[in-house]
């Protein structure tokens, strides 16, 4: 279980939903659940980093979540480079 916050640019794919509680043991299952619930997000999620309780991870699909985890999807930035260099209109 985790509370997931979506950036405003993604809410066009969620019918305006910007916060949702997802029952998922890890980040991977959380992402799959999001994509299943909101199919329009499927192509967007791999461009996002994940902030879990304040710490931002770029590649952490197997990071465990707790019932109180606060998860934010965040555009990827890091490595001295901007990562949002894809086609994304988020």
């Amino acid at each position: 279980m985790a509370t997931v916050h979506l950036p405003s640019g993604l809410t066009q794919h969620t019918g305006g939903v910007d916060e949702i509680i997802i029952d998922a043991p890890r980040v991977r299952e959380l992402m799959l659940a999001l994509a299943e619930r909101f199919p329009g997000l499927a192509g967007q999620l791999d461009r996002m980093a994940v902030a879990i309780d304040g710490d931002i991870y770029h590649d952490a699909p197997y990071h465990k979540l707790t019932p109180t985890s606060e998860v934010y999807l965040v555009p990827r930035v890091g490595g001295g480079e901007s990562f949002d260099q894809r086609l994304s209109h988020i």
Partner: protein, 759 residues
Amino acid sequence: MKDFKYVGTRPIRHDGLDKVTGRANYGADFALPGMLYGAVLRSPHAHARIVSIDTKAAEAMPGVKAVITGDDIPENFAKVAIGGEGTFDMHDMGDNALAHGKALYNGHAVAAVAAVSLEAAQEAAVRIEVVYEPLEPVLSIDRALAADAPILHENLVEGQGPTNVAARMELKRGDLDAGFAEADVVIEREFRTPMAHQGYIEPHACVARYGEDGRVLVWCTTQGPFLVRDACAAILGLDGSKIKVISSEIGGGFGGKIPVYLEPLAIALSRKANRPVKMVMTRDEVFRATGPTSGTKVVMKLGAKRDGTLVAAHASMWYEAGAYRGSPFGAGAMCCLAAYKIPNFFIEAYDVVVNKPKVAAYRAPGSPASTFATESLVDEIARTLGLDPIDLRLKNAVAEGDNAPYGPAYGPIGLKQVLEAARNHPHWTAPLAPNQGRGIACGFWFNAGLSSSATVTLDGDGSAAVVTGNPDIGGTRVAQALMVAEELGIPVDRVRPIVADTDSVGFTDVTGGSRVCYATGMAVIAAARDVCDQLRARAAKIWDIDPASVEWEDGRAVPPDGADGRGPLTVAELAAKIGHTGGPIVGRASVNAPMAGPGFGAHICDLEVDVETGRSIVVRYTAIQDAGKAVHPDFVEGQMQGGASQGIGMALNEEYIYNASGVMENAGFLDYRMPVASDLPMIDTVIVEVPNPLHPYGVRGVGETPIVPPLAAVANAMRDATGIRFTELPLSPPRVLEGLSARTTEDRDAWRPSTYQAV
């Protein structure tokens, strides 16, 4: 905070002597037997269709061994993930290395030659006959967005139709209209910054050898040897496991030595000529064909209550990507309000392609331009409300638990401590002379994490080597040696830090994102602790006791109480016995670290303006920053001074100047005016240390934050000195003189010297 023995001291860097005596080997210093020299033919046009390329005359020139065009680098439409660095567009990276069908900026590589001498290669390059069909160049954001604008890429965004806008993002919080309705003062302005180059002293350079067995050696100056390996493999369709990249010493990068430019060409030429090929850019090529940072347009509106509480912000920003998508527009959007608690905001950002070189990362990419807007408006609100600019910032400053504009709550951060340090610094209250002004501004950068590997080996004499994969740009070798010294309890000069090639160390992401001391440092500390664990086991073997009962304290294995009078064993004593206790000891570790936790800084700038000429000079400058923990304070201070210097350059003079045809007119250091030592005062520094809980020592990364505040700190000082709010950079003498000349009598009367002025 933990007590340290070595961390926090200032030993001489291990690579220092070689660097100050000229012995260090940089990108252009490498040579191989039988080596050829490469030269690149570049487009004279900013935007042109390539109708044909005839290489026959060049190939017939004496000494010419190979000529390549875009046909030799197959267009690759795959989007290939390169480890840890996210997904890169291999089509764009390959097309930028050598054009396919269209030249997209003045300086775009069109063909390349390898010959027995550089002169022969250059002479042959100009014999290549290229027929161009010139097209109208798109040289500004405004032109790129116009309805009748020429389109650079016919299918830039699938399903979007013709457009020069590659991407858009937005961030929002609260109710914008209600927020502005609450405001007593609302100020809106349009800000612009031009393209500016990283300006590293060492040009791009490499040597590549394509062997008969298909194995490739690349020696080059780069921020990321693993990225060079993987990018070259993807662009050229090679097996990455057969490419070995050796990074040279690096004479500056600042993000600009993350992309590949020459390396794929040198490999392709070597493959064709069956000889090693060396390529070195001229300064002209560096300016025209390697990544600057974006030119930008930011329209921002900020609202505050009478007491200075910021209540609403609205920002629209457009970032020039250059010829291919991928500007730091997202980071610009995420950074611009990161310092302040603003309950209502809407930010939109756009990635716009133009006929200029593809931008590359440049120190906190995206943040300086958007923060220039924010910090200028914050200064203006403080002036309008008659509030002290530090008080206003402190009133609105974010702290632990506040949410960043991009979502998550901040952990421990040091912005308020930084601002308090600024207020307490004698600079803030020092008097100013006539025609001088003072400005202050804040800055933010995320600080990256990503992947790093390290090994620590212990020798029989008790010395150690630490091996990592990050080229040392900012003194990271000595920082890593300090970490090993701290863990093992041996002097730092007994630790040899080594930057290894891609075959000799585990995968490591680029030197960038202010991540090396943090993320690679985490791997180094873990590898050193692995050595300590093994030493504890060796001591237990000597004592014939349970390893779990042995403690590691202050560089010694300590037996449990009552262990038959056995004394502790030092690293040197244990190392002397490693042959008898189980053989060599190698510690190893790898990490995939989360982002480090944000770094905040504040800069104070005193500017003196010559009202006759418009020339201004920085007469005093102080940079204050939260470093988390300064492992080697000299290099933290050096980063703060270097970032401030580059930001001052962007504020005062640096800009890409193009003629109407899109040809850059100032592609050299005489005309592209970067500040040199004699242009600047000694930049004072104050290191604030609010430990980052993600790092064993509290490190949070320092390299990028200090380039963010100077743009507005300088502009705010200019406002203080002249009464003029400049919103377009740089504040070069012609622009300042124009501003001074346009002042009306009313303007001059309305302006009052700041309280700092001694007059």
